[in-house]
Symmetry: C2
Subunit: 339 residues, 2 copies
């Protein structure tokens, strides 16, 4: 029925026989309007199919209610699931998500930041991306709150939410040692990222507490092919490891595939432990023992921190760490089981 052209608050005002300001007030929560006026306006709005223009509102209020979400590499199942939960949480708070796919190249991040700023986002969540100091400074300059999800940047003064990665690594060390393993190797997450470094450090500390050295350690770069090659290489050694802690589940699946491909059994010949507990880890084909990142709580903390910073830009940055429990499944020999 609508005329095709855009319907504005002026059209509604005309039909309802009130001023344009009155129309605006009806759609502004908390504004004072007489019930009768509101009713007339709502009726007219419905008849015309009117919706307030969020862009116009954003310009005036200085609040776009848009959050920029920067992600990359959605083939690691951890991130899609995180995006799903982050989006839902944000939507429930009345925010909308502007999605940016980043390659991790510096020039790319530069362009993304330009766009993020141009669209006047109220805040930014980065997942799976290394943030340069330059980006940090520009956000600070523009007064845009930013929270890093699943990555920290020590000394950057940026908020972050991660699981307790170092502690998680130690839990794995203790568990594997208790299970009777003595040649424990690590295929780490990318050592350029805090998550990768912290998990490795935790593992090594845990091993040291048991008087052990890491049997071998290779940077898996969070990449399947690299991790598979690393596993292959490790098993070729004169004394191969009896357990491998892999820096995330995504690589751990590739490692298990690689081990089986050369006739090795998991966990009879080698135990494998991952990190994340993505849904796939529970699937029969892998049945992966892993450290669970409590996604729901991490998302909650991320959104809470971001919104708090939006409301109070002066608020100090926070680094939140959430405890990550070890989930026992079939890919690693457990304490008490026969070797």
């Amino acid at each position: 029925m609508s005329a095709g052209g855009k319907i504005t608050s002026i059209d509604v005002a005309r039909l309802a026989g009130v001023s344009q300001s009155a129309v605006s007030r009806v759609f502004t929560p908390g504004a004072s309007v007489a019930p009768k006026t509101a009713a007339k306006v709502r009726a007219a709005a419905k008849a015309l199919g009117y919706r307030p223009n969020s862009l116009a509102r954003a310009m005036i209020t200085g609040k776009s209610r848009i959050i920029g979400l920067v992600v990359a590499y959605l083939d690691n199942q951890f991130y899609p699931v995180a995006i799903e939960k982050l989006s839902h949480a944000l939507q429930n708070k009345g925010y909308h998500v502007l999605l940016f796919m980043a390659s991790n190249t510096a020039g790319e991040m530069e362009r993304l930041m330009e766009d993020l700023l141009a669209y006047q986002v109220d805040g930014i969540i980065t997942a799976s991306v290394a943030i340069s100091n330059d980006v940090t400074r520009r956000c600070a300059d523009a007064g845009i709150p930013l929270v890093m999800f699943n990555r920290g940047q020590p000394g950057s003064g940026l908020s972050s939410v991660t699981s307790a990665n170092a502690l998680g690594g130690r839990k794995v060390a203790h568990f594997l040692v208790a299970g009777g393993h003595r040649r424990i190797a690590h295929i780490s997450g990318w050592q350029g990222a805090s998550t990768g470094r912290d998990r490795a450090r935790g593992l090594f500390e845990g091993l040291a507490e048991a008087g052990l050295e890491p049997h071998a350690a290779i940077d898996g770069l969070y990449d399947r092919a690299t991790a598979a090659a690393a596993a292959h290489h490790m098993m070729q050694a004169a004394t191969p490891p009896d357990a491998i802690f892999v820096g995330n589940d995504h690589m751990a699946f590739a490692v298990i595939d690689a081990l089986r491909a050369i006739g090795l059994r998991v966990p009879q010949d080698v135990s494998v432990v991952g990190y994340d507990d993505v849904p796939m880890a529970a699937w029969g084909a892998y049945d992966l023992t892993t450290v669970r990142q409590p996604l729901a709580r991490m998302v909650e903390a991320t959104v809470e921190t971001l919104l708090a910073q939006i409301e109070d830009p002066a608020r100090a940055a926070q680094s939140i760490e959430i405890d990550a429990p070890l989930i026992l499944r079939g890919s690693a020999r457990q304490p008490g089981e026969a070797p």
Copy 2:
């Protein structure tokens, strides 16, 4: 260095010693400005850290350069990968993606549409969501182009991009028959969606061409648990199937897990074929024979169709089908192999 407050074109104009319109022209591709003016303006802009406000621009031009992307259920790997490619393609064309996570409930879609319209998106892509006729009508009323990705809606007058699902189903039928299977069952995709229906229809037609009836058929609803239960049920029959075509890879993985859990070997005891060819299908643990949806081409067609409709709103809706090749791997006995 910046003063904290927002920097506008007026600030830049002042510093550069030109009019505000001149500043605007410098940032408007195709506008005529003297090189010297442009240089002065750019210098001033850089010094102040100025970026044109996309929201203000959108209000005036009537083009937000935002595309609404509606998705759901990111645990099926097909969608994250599609989102990744869609986002990249759109970003390359200078568009931005406003992401909406939908539950498939009617009320939810209603609210999403409101938001989509309020943010003045230039176009909409829906993936994995059933679109009601109501939504269709409102988009048409508002003049917003919409393309359904990986789903069709016959008779809706909406554009869609899918693979050739029915043909894909027939290819599976022919392949399984040629491989010597005679008791071919189907755990279908959700029969409420065109994709689920078309793949099933294609399979049944292909079987009919070989003089066969489907051995059994259960709606798997694109749900892992439902599919696993269906597989379990089928194998309990007096004469179980010797092959199962599963409506998508996501369910096929669950089916394979379920079969192995009861001691059945794939493909020696039962052949399994999926649909999608998600990256995981190639992983060692499943090594799934499946029909490949050519994601790159589907994404290309989707973006192309949408942008064409944005440029010319009068353009008729198109339903594009892209051929889907069968990818042979180890989960199904092949023609010529010993039964």
